[in-house]
């Protein structure tokens, strides 16, 4: 299938990337090649086949609704961010 410049820009937006013109060209070429390869699946007959998303069935795991001690305390986590103030992570303005 044909991948146009606007398709790459749309995928970049979904992926939260700002791409340079050179990247748009390069990724466009790469993605075309990859999509051509994975499209081989079209040959495979999957009528009446159920999809698999997990190889083992998973059961939900329940526990009592009690606060348990955590390895990482609030202050340790805040320290990981680049900027914090008043026990909150600081970021640029939203708008």
């Amino acid at each position: 299938m044909d991948i146009k410049r606007e398709d790459i820009l749309h995928l970049a937006e979904l992926s939260e990337f700002t791409l340079s013109d050179a990247e748009i060209d390069d990724l466009g070429e790469d993605l075309k090649g990859i999509i051509k390869y994975i499209s081989q699946l079209d040959e495979l007959n999957t009528d009446q086949v159920e999809p698999t998303y997990q190889v083992f069935e998973m059961d939900n795991v329940w526990r009592e609704d009690k606060i348990l001690p955590q390895e990482a305390e609030r202050e340790m986590l805040l320290e990981l961010s680049k900027e914090d103030q008043d026990h909150q992570i600081k970021v640029p303005k939203v708008l």
Partner: protein, 486 residues
């Protein structure tokens, strides 16, 4: 492996390993050397030994940690710019288990950023060199770990395998590398790539070392709901090759159809080993095909039977893999936004720009390709044709393995189509790089275990490896049977 005792101190073992790591510095194996921490821990173990206190099964054993396992020792970067500066406050379950037995991490090893790659060239820190030829790749993504063991710097190293990232570098560097059954070892505290195929495993120099590590690391973890109840140390402990007992038929879907000679009254000398006809063609290096033939002759001489298998769906495994895995990658890597940890781009006036700039500057080109492919196959209009189709192909691949393991105990295949290739040869051609994984990814899609077993060298001295595959939960049998291939 050498374990600290009254004669050999842990401090000696650790200092020797650190000295070797420095000696081989130009191979670019380590992203961090844990000098201070490792020596401190070694001295604590030596003090215990001196006092006659009990020490663990891995007391003083130096090991290398793939840099996508979280622990407070050194930054965990996954060899990606976007995680630089991140020192984890938590410890991965697998790391905690190894360290509880006295193993000592001497360094963190290089990988393709976020484990996206098959050569360790996609690392922010540059490529790791092959242990046998410095002009060639280490394989990947766990290239640093494989080379650390191959150059005898450490006794063992950890790895992760989402589509071949343990088995292929093990093969390129002549060591054992196990991708266990999906869910055998907890993924808690390991940087997620594709959650439905990610597996934790090891590189070792011998099958016995692999067995010891598996017995320590496997088991259910409340922090990873996909972990299986411990089968490695329970049900299968009874099951030695050549004995009648073994896997309970209730254990797994795959085992229900198995008429395994291990579980059914056959002798070890009577195992049935499948080889896949479709893999015996010109796209596979002649010396690898020759090595496979020689190992088949060896097995026959030991009384095992070689059975030819047709597994036509495996041809589609790579396409299915490069749909399912990027989809999970796109989802898992959406968390890296520069807000809570790691790298944050400086020049953003508003929040949305901060996300975009951080991700654009922080990811490697291969990370971007996979995230964009993932968002493509998941996006409206393409979901059914790609993602759903691949999930159905996955079912067919699982069924094909079930059928195969109703006829044979193990399958023996090449790990990759070729021995280690030249640095730079494939790095600019994503599809050529993906084809490295053509024989390894189907195991991850099916959840079955695979063990790379060294199989000699090429005429030019490059290691060759073969992949021994078994049904789900047969990890211990795989390790045991690997000894038959010596």
């Amino acid at each position: 492996m050498k374990i600290a005792n009254k004669k050999v101190t842990a401090e000696r073992l650790v200092k020797d390993a650190l000295a070797k790591a420095k000696h081989f510095a130009d191979y670019n194996i380590f992203t961090f050397l844990n000098e201070e921490g490792a020596i401190k821990k070694a001295r604590e173990i030596d003090a215990k030994i001196a006092k006659g206190e009990k020490v663990g099964k891995l007391a003083g054993v130096p090991y290398a940690l793939k840099d996508n396992f979280l622990s407070p020792e050194g930054e965990t970067t996954a060899s990606a710019h976007i995680l630089q500066g991140f020192t984890s406050p938590v410890t991965a379950t697998a790391v905690a288990k190894l360290e509880a037995e006295g193993a000592i991490m001497i360094g963190r090893t290089n990988l393709d950023a976020f484990a996206h790659g098959s050569s360790t060239e996609n690392s922010y820190f540059g490529p790791t060199l092959n242990a046998f030829d410095r002009e060639r790749v280490a394989g990947g993504s766990s290239g640093g770990s494989a080379v650390a063991v191959a150059l005898d710097i450490v006794e063992f190293a950890t790895g992760t395998d989402t589509g071949g990232s343990i088995r292929q570098p093990a093969s390129f560097n002549g060591v054992y590398g196990l991708k266990p059954t999906y869910g055998c070892i907890s993924r808690y505290g390991v940087v997620a790539m594709a959650s439905s195929t990610d597996c934790i495993g090891f590189f070792t120099k011998t099958p016995d070392d692999m067995d010891l590590l598996m017995s320590i690391a496997s088991g259910q973890d409340s922090k990873d709901m996909t972990t299986l109840p411990d089968y490695y140390n329970t049900e299968l402990e009874r099951s030695h090759l050549g004995h009648a007992q073994g896997r309970s038929p209730k254990l797994t879907v795959l085992d229900e159809t198995s008429s395994s000679s291990i579980s059914n009254n056959h002798k070890a000398s009577g195992c049935r080993v499948g080889i896949i006809k479709d893999f015996d063609n010109d796209s596979v290096d002649a010396e690898i095909r020759q090595a496979l033939k020689e190992k088949c002759e060896l097995l026959k001489s030991k009384g095992h039977e070689i059975v030819e298998l047709e597994m036509p769906s495996l041809k589609y495994a790579l396409s299915a893999y490069y749909i399912i895995v990027p989809a999970e990658v796109a989802s898992n890597l959406s968390r890296y936004d520069g807000i809570r940890y790691g790298f944050r781009s400086d020049d953003s006036a508003v929040l949305d720009d901060l996300y975009d700039h951080t991700r654009s500057e922080g990811f490697m080109p291969e990370n971007k390709r996979r995230i964009m492919i993932g968002n493509f196959v998941l996006s409206s209009g393409f979901y059914d044709a790609y993602f759903l189709k691949a999930a159905k192909a996955r079912t067919l691949i699982i069924k094909e393995y079930e059928k195969a393991f109703s006829k044979v105990d193990f399958i023996l295949t090449p790990v990759a189509p070729n021995p280690a290739f030249k640095l730079g040869e494939k790095v600019n051609d994503p599809v050529a790089m993906y084809l490295e994984d053509v024989m390894s990814v189907s195991l991850n899609l099916a959840g079955v275990p695979g063990l790379t077993v060294p199989a000699g060298k090429t005429k030019t001295g490059l290691p060759l490896g073969l992949q021994l595959v078994g049904p789900r939960r047969s990890d211990k049998n795989l390790i045991e049977f690997a000894k038959e291939l010596k």
